[in-house]
């Protein structure tokens, strides 16, 4: 029970959910108590891993994305995951190799029933199942970087330049832009246009790439990192309606790649 309480307190501290007085108490303890500090460091690494694996509850995931939106915390995520990724990849490679070997042996082994025919049936069923399932977001290898975008100042109908900067490392495959958007919103009506410097539309996104969560009034746009070369972009969220002026949100973002 004690451990569970501690875990909840540590989670709330890291996600910035504690009231000021309680936060100050923990700060004081961290300054005085080395072993407690070490426990919190270890807890943060574990929290990051659970976030990366999609093991956090939905509400906590949104809180995490907001708390870890700034640059130094993004670097912490990268460090925390990079450390474990080579090991995960190695294990995944190992498991795949064993599976391929076993499957090969199973298919070519002599048997009164032609096993290759059974294998082909399985493949056909698999292909059918995939083609009949509803469209889903493409699964990308690599990291998903969540970025909470801040509001753009509006001056004379034009967005003032106030960029959120997204620094992409080479292993980021998908960017998940997040912004607050007061409802009611019908997800299927949303269109997000990403344009270079608010002029040329680079690409438009609709559901399922665009999602609106009623619980925390958050809009999420999932974009393959390859869609956005280095540069400045404006994200315009509008309803799919007869009028193109029905703009709900507008955000500016600068995309850069580390090492470039």
């Amino acid at each position: 029970m004690q451990h569970k309480d501690d875990d909840q307190l540590m989670t709330a501290y890291l996600l910035g959910l504690l009231p000021q007085e309680q936060r100050e108490l923990i700060d004081a303890r961290l300054a005085a108590d080395g072993p407690y500090f070490e426990r919190l460091e270890a807890f943060e690494d574990d929290l990051i891993l659970r976030w990366h694996r999609g093991q956090l509850p939905e509400a906590q995931r949104g809180q995490f994305d907001r708390a870890y939106a700034d640059e130094s915390r993004q670097a912490r995520i990268a460090e925390s995951l990079r450390f474990l990724q080579p090991l995960s990849a190695r294990a995944a490679g190992g498991k795949a190799a064993v599976w391929v070997r076993q499957t090969h042996v199973w298919i070519v082994a002599s048997d009164p029933i032609p096993r290759w025919a059974v294998a082909c049936s399985f493949i056909l069923i698999g292909v059918l199942a995939v083609s009949l399932s509803r469209p889903r977001l493409p699964k990308a290898d690599g990291l998903t970087l969540a970025v909470a975008l801040t509001a753009v100042g509006e001056r004379g109908g034009q967005p003032a330049r106030s960029f959120d900067v997204v620094r992409l490392s080479s292993d980021v495959a998908t960017i998940q832009f997040q912004m607050s958007a007061a409802g009611p919103i019908v997800e299927a009506e949303l269109v997000v246009a990403i344009s270079a410097n608010d002029r040329d539309v680079v690409r438009e996104y609709t559901a399922p790439s665009v999602r609106w969560v009623h619980a925390d009034q958050t809009l999420t746009i999932t974009v393959p990192a390859s869609d956005l070369p280095n540069g400045d972009y404006v994200l315009t969220v509008r309803r799919r309606s007869a009028s193109d002026t029905d703009v709900l949100q507008r955000r500016a973002v600068r995309v850069t790649r580390t090492g470039s």
């Binding site: 300054a31 080395g34 426990r39 080579p86 960029f163």
Partner: protein
């Protein structure tokens, strides 16, 4: 800052009589202060740590006679003030020129360069076979409770063990990098 700073040997002696152990302790302390500043959303944690240490050594009268624990609390106190100042400056800079974002340095690039060098082979060389096995399982198993049961430890203990292995690998790779 004015006056003479505390010399390095005296500073290290506050942490440990053995200079090598003292350097390791100072390194660990600065890593912790940096991480704490990240938790406090300090705009430039790395810069704030450097500034905090610089301010500390320019107060030799206060440092002399401090224990390791006193020094830890002292540095955290200074770092909290530096973070507050940086946040105020940061808010002003942001309102004046938001494009300056790209100029801020968080040390992330340097960290990434170091971490890019990580390979499984290197990690394996830094750890005992038993440690490597535990770390690999932690990295690949979704069910950490199962690992806790196997090792007969609490989840909290497992997390701290993994954290220490990370520290060990980081220190090990750092030593190799400096050779």
């Amino acid at each position: 800052m004015s006056g003479r700073p505390l010399d390095q040997d005296t500073l290290l002696a506050l942490l440990d009589p053995d200079p090598v152990a003292a350097i390791e302790k100072l390194d660990r302390l600065t890593q912790q202060v940096r991480r704490w500043l990240e938790w406090k959303h300090c705009p430039d944690p790395q810069g704030a740590v450097a500034e905090s240490l610089a301010r500390a050594v320019y107060q030799p009268d206060r440092l002399i006679g401090m224990t390791e624990g006193d020094f830890r609390g002292f540095i955290f106190g200074i770092a909290a003030n530096v973070a507050r100042e940086l946040r105020r400056t940061h808010a002003r800079e942001q309102s004046l020129d938001a494009a300056a974002w790209s100029q801020w340095s968080s040390g992330a690039d340097e960290e990434q360069r170091i971490l890019d060098r990580l390979t499984v082979a290197q990690i394996r060389q830094c750890l005992s076979p038993k440690e490597f096995k535990v770390l690999t399982r932690y990295a690949t198993w979704d069910d950490h409770d199962r690992l806790c049961r196997e090792l007969n430890v609490t989840r909290d203990t497992l997390r701290v063990r993994i954290h220490r292995m990370r520290q060990k690998v980081r220190a090990c790779l750092g030593r190799r990098g400096s050779h």
